[in-house]
Assembly symmetry: C2
Homo-oligomer: 436 residues x 2
């Protein structure tokens, strides 16, 4: 029996004074209805049930968990082979099973919208009120907040899954590094990584970034061929069969060691990451981890002569963000941006709101860290023409463009690891992977 999930359901119900309906979601059609995208159950469902059961609904009411599912059609055994019956499945999952058409919701049941429109429509009919994809109805906020309260601090079963995702991700990045050579296509590097996931029965937690154009922050193309002297930026993480994510970035040279200029900026990013990881511990505000990395990065760039001024003042004025325009990281768990389906509600604790500042607005997380939280730490340095050529962002003589020009062989560097907050510090789940 999946005892961790029984305990999670118990803890969730203890936080709720109304019933809750959790939808697994349904497979989404790809190019025709029977050819579907690979099914990915909703993270809330996976958290509470532990298995991706398409079309199922979990009802938590009166201290009891019931899983409602469509009974298999008569010719199911012909196409899908013998399947566990309701009693066997209920036993394995530690809950009651019931047929979906018997589902009647108690009044005031709360729910969270699934990702697929067909399930959201079904939820709406069951609830007798319209749910909206991507939006939490105010009446459902107590359920959202209770899920956040549970999922923010990972239990032992969650940590085991995060470690499995991290282990596969480390293996994949090692396979990538072993494959690097001038003339290889980005696709071929990704193929080696994907094979590491697939062999383990895992997939990718998000669309892979494997690119010689590291300055394009969301570069999804994998069609370029690597050349000697390139830096390749690889942002790839595994997702376990149970749905848990890793999220790791490395930036490595192709066809030789780092050039002297690449080595200097790579060290600046590593130092910023080390400073940020050293800052991670319970009681620390995550925004301060971000600022620690930003100040470290600014100091490194001052040392190299790229920036001029006091690192703290440069950060206060967002000058560092010319080169590091994103946040230091985010929550990670069942989602690579954990619970982002709830908007900023998980990432920003009560009383915390997103800043409008260029150097802070992209930060996805701002909370006081607690033991059991898992976060990414991912500083970077990028030369993005759309930023550096923007007159509105020109910092005047605080940026030495002549010196910067000497570092033209660095387009983008990011170094990212997954970090579990422990009782007195941090445990880097992906520490086994070399950074340089």
């Amino acid at each position: 029996m999946l005892t961790a999930h029984v305990e999670r359901r118990r803890r969730l119900m203890a936080r709720l004074d109304r019933p809750a309906l959790i939808a697994a979601g349904a497979p989404q059609p790809r190019n025709y209805p029977a050819n579907t995208q690979p099914f990915r159950a909703s993270s809330h469902f996976l958290y509470l049930v532990g298995r991706p059961l398409p079309g199922c609904f979990l009802l938590l009411a009166d201290g009891e968990a019931t899983l409602y599912r469509e009974p298999p059609p008569p010719d199911d055994a012909l196409w899908h082979g013998p399947q566990p019956d309701a009693a066997e499945l209920g036993e394995a999952l530690g809950l009651k099973l019931a047929p979906l058409d018997a589902l009647r919701l108690p009044p005031d049941t709360m729910s969270l919208p699934a990702m697929d429109a067909a399930t959201v429509a079904r939820q709406s009919r069951l609830l007798g009120r319209a749910l909206t994809p991507g939006r939490i109805d105010p009446t459902d906020l107590p359920l959202a907040d209770a899920m956040i309260a549970l999922r923010l601090r990972h239990d032992a079963a969650a940590v085991a899954e995060l470690r499995a995702a991290a282990e596969a991700t480390v293996a994949a990045h090692r396979a990538a590094r072993a494959a690097l050579r001038p003339g290889i296509a980005e696709y071929a590097v990704w193929a080696e990584m994907q094979a590491e996931f697939t062999r383990r029965g895992m997939g990718a937690a998000y669309a892979p970034i494997v690119t010689r154009r590291g300055e394009v922050l969301h570069e999804r193309g994998l069609h370029r061929t690597l050349e000697a002297g390139d830096l390749i930026l690889i942002d790839v993480g595994a997702e376990t069969a149970g749905g848990w994510a890793a999220d790791v970035t490395r930036t490595w040279p192709v066809g030789g060691p780092l050039s002297p200029t690449q080595a200097e900026l790579h060290r600046v990013v590593r130092d910023a990451q080390a400073a940020a990881i050293a800052a991670v511990k319970p009681g620390v505000r995550y925004r301060d981890v971000h600022l620690t990395a930003a100040v470290s990065l600014a100091a490194g760039l001052v040392e190299l002569g790229i920036l001029r001024g006091d690192p703290h003042e440069l950060v206060a004025d967002d000058v560092h963000a010319l080169f590091f325009p994103h946040g230091i990281g985010h929550l990670i768990g069942l989602d690579v941006h954990d619970m982002e389906d709830l908007g900023d509600r998980a990432g920003y604790g009560p009383g915390f709101t997103r800043s409008a500042r260029f150097g802070l607005g992209y930060l996805r997380l701002d909370r006081v860290l607690e033991p059991g939280m898992a976060v990414t730490i991912e500083p970077g340095f990028y030369q993005v023409p759309a930023i550096l050529d923007d007159p509105a962002r020109d910092p005047g003589d605080r940026l030495d463009r002549a010196t910067l020009a000497k570092f033209a062989d660095v387009r983008g560097i990011r170094i990212e690891d997954d970090v579990l907050v422990t009782a007195d510090g941090a445990d880097v789940l992906t520490e086994a992977l070399a950074r340089v």
Copy 2:
């Protein structure tokens, strides 16, 4: 310029007397809105435009093709790098570009529903009438029929794509075969095949079947470990970057040659496939290709002593379908079941309807073959307990269960190739792959 696509649009417009709106579709959220499934544009859009452009709409009206797209947001270059502007993209695609908010549909515009609910909702708003996912509105049938008329017979550019998909698929199956050994997991076999696709910038056209339980027709689990003496059934096909599919099945022994019983049944299936392929030529009704395979299979099983009686009579009474319960194949093109988004409208020509017979009802295609059509030919032999133990299907003494029991080491065999109908016969696109 994508000249084949210009020509396709011209030919489509020549068949229509009303305007047509073709939606690319939009990425579907996976576990939260920003983490989407890999985008797959609608096949009709890919057929006419040639590139997967999320969120775009193609309007064909007054002999002119216009592509409407959302202008990129202001910070797009920051996240996605510089992109081609409207003029460059229009030049490359051979059509006019316009911003999406300028799209006004002429009266009586026809359309076909996209696969994702958000796009279907947008189409409905644009058309001023409700489209339903998975259903063709009667007013849109002329568009559906014109698309079918074009897509049924593949042009040279389509054939080139089908050959590329076939070539990658052959390579993948060879990689699988090279990896087979007792102790390897089904997942690891699939990893080798997937890597062949990924290295080419391709993906899978459908969920892979890689299983030692070949008798489970839609077995999606890949978690089992192969043992010596197993047959592994591998049904895997590539999809090119442009969206074109291959669909190939091989059934191979693990850890040695086929056993004598496996070899006999493998030969029976191969013979049935060869008979079916030999029957493929213009003017032949596809159902007769199916029946040719069925009679060949029945004759082979009579020869082995598993069935008793006249092969034609056995087929007329659906006795062959105890072991071969599915159809001989289907159309293949941009969809692995080509145009199945239009229901049976593409698969069943005017005047042809699905049979209710057990031995014919699963046939996805019944048309008179024409040059340029591509179909799969995929006979099989399976021992499915849900069929063989069903008293309603018991053929009495026409089945020799004692002889069948000697073939217990055969759970499922299927052999499938992709066949292009030529002017005077058939071209097996996947002929390069050994069958045994």
